[in-house]
């Protein structure tokens, strides 16, 4: 792994172009690109040497659609080989149209069907908190359309009741929910006891500041960062 090249943000578009096939979610892939880059570049305490370290931060990709951005960022951060990108979607490839934790070491959960990841992230955050007074952080990436799923709202209500200050939901808001959220996505979380921030989803400085924000002094509230994406 030590010989793997590292890539810059500017290289990600080229890495994505290496993946071919019938991927149907191009727009979705690009909507997550900046958030994923900022997370892996400057927020998550995980790198190629700590993929299996119990003290690493976890990123649970609940919104598994459009994983090309994830794969490109993992290659850029040397957690996958660039050659794997060329196999995208092929029968024997590790890289499906949704990420698979049993095929990609750096992927925390297999996903695709919407509405699963936040509850899994709660279980992970709860378990980590049970074991340590300074547990690793657990991040969960969701989409605004995914919030249509009722299961997400079971999880939103539960997380704050459990006092999971080591949990951060990151919601990509590209207004893909058919019926929308009249009270605002942040408001949906806040009413359940989350600490919410809404930022421009392409602004790396704003993303980093919001994603690094550590909540209240007690750190008992889960946090949500709503990342608004225009395109």
């Amino acid at each position: 792994m030590s010989s793997l090249p590292a890539y810059r943000y500017e290289d990600l578009a080229g890495l994505i172009r290496m993946m071919t096939g019938d991927e149907k979610h191009d727009a979705s892939a690009h909507s997550t690109l900046d958030v994923l880059w900022v997370l892996y570049d400057s927020v998550l305490k995980v790198d190629r040497g700590s993929i299996n370290d119990p003290t690493r931060d976890r990123l649970m990709i609940s919104k598994g659609h459009g994983p090309m951005a994830l794969y490109a960022v993992l290659v850029a951060k040397q957690m996958m080989t660039v050659d794997e990108l060329r196999t995208y979607g092929q029968f024997d490839s590790s890289l499906g149209w949704h990420p698979d934790r049993l095929r990609i070491e750096a992927v925390e959960i297999s996903s695709g069907s919407l509405g699963h990841g936040l509850a899994i992230a709660i279980g992970s955050a709860y378990g980590l908190k049970l074991r340590s007074s300074s547990p690793p952080q657990v991040f969960c990436l969701l989409g605004d359309g995914e919030l249509d799923e009722g299961s997400v709202h079971e999880a939103i209500a539960l997380a704050a009741r459990l006092g999971l200050g080591n949990l951060t939901a990151v919601v990509i808001d590209n207004r893909s929910s058919t019926h929308g959220w009249p009270a605002g996505i942040a408001g949906r979380f806040e009413v359940e006891g989350w600490v919410a921030r809404t930022v421009a989803g392409r602004d790396h400085r704003a993303l980093e500041a919001a994603l690094r924000y550590q909540g209240s002094a007690q750190k008992a509230e889960p946090r949500v960062v709503v990342c608004e994406i225009d395109s």
Partner: protein, 295 residues
Amino acid sequence: MQTMREAFFDGVVEWMAADEKAMVVLADISAAGLREASRNFPGRVLNVGIREQAAIGVAAGLSLEGFHPLVHTYVPFLIERPFEMIKDDLFHQGLVATLVSIGASYDEPGYGRTHQCPEDVALLDTLGPSTILVPGHADEVVPLLQRAVSSDTVGYLRLSIAMNRRPIRNTTATMTRVVIGKNGVVIAVGPMLDAVLDATQGMDLTVLYATTVRPFDAATLREVAGPTPKVVIVEPYLAGTSSPVVERALSDLPHRILALGVSHPDLHRYGSYADHDLAQGLDPAGIASAICAFL
């Protein structure tokens, strides 16, 4: 006499005391019954409220972190409502967890169809290898619970109010040879044993008793089945659930199978457990009649 549910509560306390990775996830049901476990092991009994989809997801997250989660609630809300979570969050992720249900096929018929789930074992069969355990007596619950939580697959323990008159002391995964006969083999699953024994008196049939239905004990069946087996399997859930595994066990032999179980899951009727056994043909007379016709 202790119920299976009460025995389960005792078994959970025992398990949690012995294994610091043991975690229980509840969705309100049985929260009172597991109060001792909750008190003895702070933080390790997690009641998520009436959120069964979250219960399975949370269990998956705990399993990812090295805990052994046990999720327990009423059977339709454990297996049917969060079925896709069981599929995607547990089986597809390659995670281990134990599911424990109460309610069975029609334990409390007054509640109607929404609280009945004879389909549970058949549904789990669609997801991949698992360990499915069906006790027939309260005294069999704790050993089976211990086996469920020791399994390297998703485990399912199916509790019921229906019990046989006496427990069978067999802590292994093999079927118990209760009666040996010459005219065929009847497999009684869990609480069906008494009805099967009553039904088969004087028929000179071998009666096997199964509490471990997955993995299915093909070896014992083959040992007693003879060269041209006639096999009846009587299950307390959807009729035919285990026909494929019996079929596979005997695939190289000329054989006949009769699968008895719940055949009419949506009767729109209330009454008692015995009323429903009668309606499904799972009373001794109904079983005897079906076996006589088959033989």
